[in-house]
């Protein structure tokens, strides 16, 4: 009995040792969780873009305004970067415009010297997580320090956004990534292993048709996954999208990202011959893209070395665009930058997918 057990033990161990890549990856994963997750979540949020302006009619800058702007600009946690990146707007209207466009995350309107209300009005983008509270705390702290009795009136631009609503948007994008990377890529490697792809090659079917068919089916599957999770997200989190145009824009974003991810997966799975190696690489890629996408914690809280990943991470642009559409009801104007980014990513991924997959057909 013991001999059989030892035999099985040794076989498993031999196989384990013969694939060092998988071993490294399995050790690497928890370390990456520690480093990336640890840094991505709960970091000190800094450099939050906010706008300030003084209420009309404008006479001259009140001492409260000047002092507050100065204090806000230099506000920082010990040993950290400045908490806010303050932009001074010349009028309330231009400041609010910047807020609506998502250029700043909050606007503080200071009272005019001849105001009746004598209140600082704070308009805050409530679709983000943590930052609205941080901004509010920062400004009331400044007012308190200045000994001002001026009350703070807070207006949440998008109402009270629960964490689940904030997070839900990220899950839609994650659904597309996960389903494509795990399902589509593994199926493709298996088909190649079984010689099914080679079976296509002895038929008169065009190489381009094979690629088109594979990317096409993958895209539709990814889009389907994204749409289902989008529907579930709306039901579970109770977000209401009022503008029908936004539905179309959401679908457009999901489509572009689905084509891109599917093509990327086609490219990756063309380079791997081993399902296990592929799966561990993909798990790693999935982790790093999801963690740095801002899906569950604002990217502002990440250290710089992680934030450069968010800059090249297509998932973060998709999350940003979907948040603008789903939580903030902003139109195409607010997501044009995101659309450009994911469009570029998808275009590049399609080219990469086609060329890499073609090579496996030679």
């Amino acid at each position: 009995m013991i001999r059989g057990a030892i035999a099985i033990f040794r076989r498993d161990f031999k196989k384990f040792r013969s694939n060092p890549f998988v071993i490294i990856m399995t050790l690497f994963m928890p370390i990456m969780y520690l480093v990336i997750f640890g840094n991505a979540v709960g970091g000190t949020i800094a450099g939050v873009p906010i706008g300030v302006a003084q209420e009309a009619p404008y006479v001259n800058e009140t001492p409260l305004f000047t002092a507050s702007v100065d204090m806000l600009t230099h506000l920082a946690q010990p040993g950290k970067a400045d908490t806010f990146k303050v932009t001074v707007f010349s009028s309330e209207a231009t400041a609010k415009e910047a807020l609506a466009d998502g250029k700043v995350m909050a606007v503080a309107i200071f009272p005019s010297p001849i105001s009746n209300t004598h209140a600082v009005r704070l308009y805050v983008d409530s679709s983000d997580y943590t930052t609205p509270t941080l901004i509010q705390a920062g400004i009331s702290g400044v007012l308190q320090q200045l000994g001002s009795r001026t009350p703070l009136q807070v207006t949440k631009l998008y109402g009270d956004v629960d964490y689940i609503q904030f997070f839900g948007v990220g899950v839609i994008v994650m659904a597309i990534f996960m389903s494509t990377m795990m399902g589509g890529g593994l199926a493709l490697i298996r088909d190649r292993e079984l010689g099914i792809i080679e079976g296509y090659l002895v038929t008169p079917v065009k190489r381009a048709s094979i690629i088109l068919g594979i990317i096409g089916s993958g895209t539709v599957k990814a889009l389907l996954a994204g749409t289902i999770i989008f529907g579930v997200d709306l039901l579970v989190t109770g977000v209401v999208i009022r503008n029908p145009e936004d539905y179309l824009l959401v679908m457009a974003v999901l489509f572009i990202i689905s084509v891109g991810i599917t093509s990327l997966v086609v490219a990756l799975s063309s380079r791997y011959t081993n399902q296990q190696t592929y799966a561990s690489s993909i798990a790693f890629l999935n982790l790093i893209l999801f963690m740095t996408s801002g899906a569950f914690y604002p990217t502002l809280g990440m250290p710089d070395w992680l934030r450069w990943i968010t800059v090249i991470n297509p998932e973060s642009y998709a999350v940003h665009a979907l948040r603008a559409l789903i939580l903030r009801g902003q139109g195409v104007g607010a997501i044009s930058g995101d659309l450009l980014a994911i469009g570029l990513f998808s275009g590049a991924a399609i080219l990469l997918g086609i060329t890499t997959f073609r090579r496996t057909l030679e």
Binding site: V202, P204, V205
Partner: protein, 338 residues
């Protein structure tokens, strides 16, 4: 090149074909200067041990590999330069099944029908006909994963035949099948051939080649060792047939008289059996029997065995089909003609 009178009855023409695989640390010549042609409508067998180069040759002919040197033409098309035209006229049934086990028999055939661009309006009828021809009509909508090995093989062969190709390549079509299933696959191959399809068959089962093939090519170490019909290949072995005669008693005189016949080679006494190697054994047997009768020696048993392909292969290469390590002579002998 326009097809001339000579190529009209040759559907495949291979000239000085070689395929060399180079990896960092070694170079393997899988196909080594092979030339031959296949006639239209025949069942052509490619025989050889594992690793002989059969599969590489098939992969070149089915456009999956390009030759390192030499030329291969399928019908009027060059495999390296006009692969798409070649693919349209061939059907391929690879050694490892590429059926989709999660799909039904019908779906598998429909899928391939679309890949080979079979006229859509007639595809349904074609699939029905093909499934009926292999007795799978009642299982058309079951998943292929539930099929037996023999059923899968038959399905895969008709799948390769869906667009009525001029040539069908069958790579080890009966490997792993039980005798009953093998017999059915053989019948199916013969039926396909009756529809004027040329069949190229690789196998390392001698009986399969003997039963099915019009002509047989022996491949070993990437080279063509011999190519001819079964009858002519048998003629290559000088000893010819083996006749075994059982007896109760025998005289030296009788043995001497048997040996006197010019057709007789080695005569060996094995206990109560006399083993006679002879050319044209079938015609020799009556005279031997007569000789025994005249000497009043009763014959208790009689068998005549023609050399099998295995015997021929051993004779040509000096090694068995199990694939010994010693290198074959590697020359084209006897009836091999391009």
């Amino acid at each position: 090149m326009t097809p001339n009178a000579k190529t009209a009855d040759e559907i495949i023409r291979i000239e000085h074909l070689s395929k060399v695989f180079r990896t960092r640390d070694r170079t393997v010549t899988a196909v080594d200067d092979v030339s031959f042609s296949v006639r239209r409508g025949e069942i052509f067998g490619l025989l050889g041990p594992n690793g002989a180069g059969k599969s590489t040759l098939i992969r070149i002919l089915t456009t999956l590999l390009t030759p390192s040197s030499g030329e291969a033409r399928v019908d009027a098309y060059d495999v390296a330069r006009e692969p798409e035209q070649v693919r349209a006229i061939i059907g391929v049934c690879p050694q490892n099944s590429t059926l989709d086990l999660d799909l039904s028999a019908w779906d598998n055939l429909e899928f391939y029908g679309n890949l080979v661009d079979y006229p859509e309006a007639e595809l349904g009828d074609r699939i029905r006909t093909l499934l009926a021809s292999v007795d799978l009509a009642d299982r058309a909508h079951s998943k292929v994963g539930t099929f037996s090995g023999g059923m899968r093989r038959k399905l895969e062969i008709v799948r390769a035949f869906i667009h009525r190709p001029l040539i069908i390549f069958l790579d080890e079509p009966t490997i792993g099948l039980d005798p009953e299933a093998r017999r059915e696959v053989w019948e199916q191959i013969a039926r396909l051939n009756a529809e004027e399809t040329t069949v190229i068959l690789t196998t390392h089962y001698m009986d399969e080649a003997e039963k099915l093939c019009n002509r047989i090519a022996f491949i070993d170490g990437g080279r063509l060792i011999a190519l001819d019909s079964m009858e002519n290949l048998k003629g290559l072995i000088p000893s010819g047939d083996l006749i075994e005669i059982g007896f109760d008693r025998i005289t030296d005189d009788a043995i001497a008289r048997i040996k006197a016949d010019p057709r007789v080679g080695v005569v060996e006494l094995r206990g109560k059996t006399l083993a006679v190697q002879a050319t044209d054994g079938g015609k020799l047997v009556p005279s031997i029997l007569q000789l025994f009768e005249e000497a009043d020696l009763p014959v208790t048993a009689l068998s005549i065995r023609s050399p099998s392909l295995e015997d021929i292969f051993i004779y040509l290469t000096g090694k068995g089909f199990g694939g010994g390590e010693e290198k074959a002579a590697g020359t084209v002998r006897g009836g091999a003609r391009a």
